[in-house]
Amino acid sequence: MSSSGRPWRTKVAVAVGQGAGTASRWLGRGHGSVIGGRIAMLIDPAVIEHLTAGRPVTIVSGTNGKTTTTRLVAEALRTERVVASTRGANMPQGMVGALAAEADELVLEVDEIYLPGVAAATKPTVLLLLNLTRDQLDRITEIRRVAELWRTLMTDITWPLTVVANADDPLVAWSVATLPGVVWVSAGGRWSEDAALCPSCGRVRSIEPGRPWHCACGFNRPDVAWWLDDHVLHGPDGFVRRLQPRLPGSFNLGNAAMAVAAAAVRGVDPHGAAAGVEAVHDVAGRYATVNVAGHATRLLLAKNPAGWSETLELLLESRGSLVVCINARSADGTDPSWLWDVPFERLAGRTVIAGGDRRLDLAVRLEVAGVAHIVVDDVVAAIAALPAGPVEVAATYTAFHDLLEALHVAW
């Protein structure tokens, strides 16, 4: 549907919402996408349904990599089409701005818990499911519950939908196991601590690194259509191409493979899609390198143990000074107990600058891990005071956004 064909209530909702969003940005309160969307939804509760009607929608969900993969899918589709996508906001209120844009196709990041509601409202053509691991347990409470929500969603699908799913995550595989025609991708994942039990039968599985997961009950990793052999991506019909994303880490290689697979399902040439994906070098400030008082400072978002298992590798590869910022506001999850699931012991020998609201929780963790650390109130001042050289900053969700604001980084 073109914007002129939308119901008047939807047009008013979008216009007022955009006005509020602009005011919010002008007041220095971030993107303004959430407040704008909230107001738009008050005026037209069905605004999301109305804005997506008649346009193909791809939804990206999962615990880690949502924002990045949403961007990668959008860039893959943009090699052939005009695409609008969300930029980090993943709850319904935050999506309205992206949906209102003139575009052939839409790519939306959706929070794991909100997925059933948003899917029902937007009737996506493609659903890209990344992974399910522990995160914000004060809100999510149990990971199994999310997988059950997804599984119920799959039985409620009444429209043509292709699911592109990470076959290497047993919980994701279980959540869509009842649906025919899933496009399985072997996207990997270092973290396996939330998959020790077979989601199907409850048995304790033996986890053998490097081998596809399997269980005595017969619930095994599905056969995959897309897989990575080191950096070489293999796909259907003999597709083979070296994949060299500019985004760092094996995790983003997996995200890139998922994005290419989703774009191929949307009918985009996978070679072109891969080139589009490779060109992305930062996403909503994540992985961006900015200058802080002469220090080349790379910004990494790490908000849970699975994300940290990837981030630790990046920190270990780097010779730069290390800064870690931990908050526990509602968007981060209010319980930072998960810090003890991160093997910070591996940073022994380095010195970590500990910042954020919960810097003392981090300091106690680092003390027990035997990692030298300095607790600071002002992270930006602490970076400025460092000896010359690069800096790596890893921060939780709200700490990351505080930092973007303090550094005046647009995202």
Binding site: D138, R144, D335, W338, D341, A363, V368
Partner: protein
């Protein structure tokens, strides 16, 4: 025996299935505090299906989801090593789901499950999950300062006559059975709903568990933990 000659063995049970809320930190903190006093200390991680050694000093059980809880109960029962170790004087810290599986019965995946019967408690299901900061006065272990941590559970735990209260709730929910109690103590078992993990935020409780095996311990200076405790206690009273 001087500390240098005494090796302390911490046994961390089933961390891949009962270890959802960072509770593995409890094992790390116990070993760390023993080492700071000059003891040799090791953390032995026992996975589900492996034989549980009976010669450990302090055993640690963490929290997890329903399916994991049932699998852990089956594993602990068929192995039998934990019960034997307790019989030989070992100490045990059990957190959240760990507390529940030690009891007579608990509720998981919609049914009542037979627990290990090592702790005289029964656990039913709460309608509204208890999630948030929890502060409790540890009346069950004299001389300990306030306990601070984070609870995240759906249990209602009632103590039987053989178990005593670990603490009285100052703020938060705790056992949630209307008695205002939090956790349980029975012999050398200390059971609690506190994550955080609990021993990182309450090193005096860690020292209590170590002292059950090692005798009186010299005090340690913990300025960072003291600051963290002051911050969390202030946050919980707001």
């Amino acid at each position: 025996m001087s500390p240098g000659e005494r090796s302390v063995r911490i046994v961390h049970l089933y961390p891949t299935i009962l270890g959802l809320y960072g509770d593995r930190g409890n094992a790390l903190v116990l070993a760390h505090r023993a080492r700071r006093r000059g003891f040799r200390a090791e953390v032995l991680v026992v996975a589900h299906g492996e034989v549980i050694p009976v010669d450990g000093d302090v055993y640690v059980l963490g929290g997890g989801e329903d399916v994991a809880q049932i699998a852990a109960t089956d594993g602990l029962r068929s192995d039998g090593g934990l019960a034997r170790a307790l019989g030989e004087g070992a100490a045990l810290l059990a957190v959240c789901a760990g507390l529940q599986v030690l009891g007579e019965t608990f509720s998981a995946s919609g049914s009542e499950v037979q627990g290990l019967g090592l702790l005289d408690v029964t656990t039913g299901r709460r309608e509204v999950r208890a999630v948030g900061e929890l502060v409790a006065d540890p009346v069950g272990i004299p001389g300990l300062p306030l306990l601070t941590g984070f609870e995240n559970h759906g249990g209602v735990t009632t103590l039987g006559p053989k178990a005593t209260t670990l603490a009285r709730v100052v703020s938060g929910v705790g056992n949630g059975d209307g008695s205002g109690t939090e956790g349980a103590v029975q012999g050398r078992i200390v059971a609690t709903y506190l994550h955080g993990p609990v021993l990182a935020r309450n090193p005096a409780l860690a020292d209590h568990l170590l002292a059950l095996r090692l005798g009186p311990l010299e005090p340690l200076s913990d300025p960072t933990v003291d600051r963290l405790r002051a911050e969390r206690l202030a946050a919980a009273s707001r």
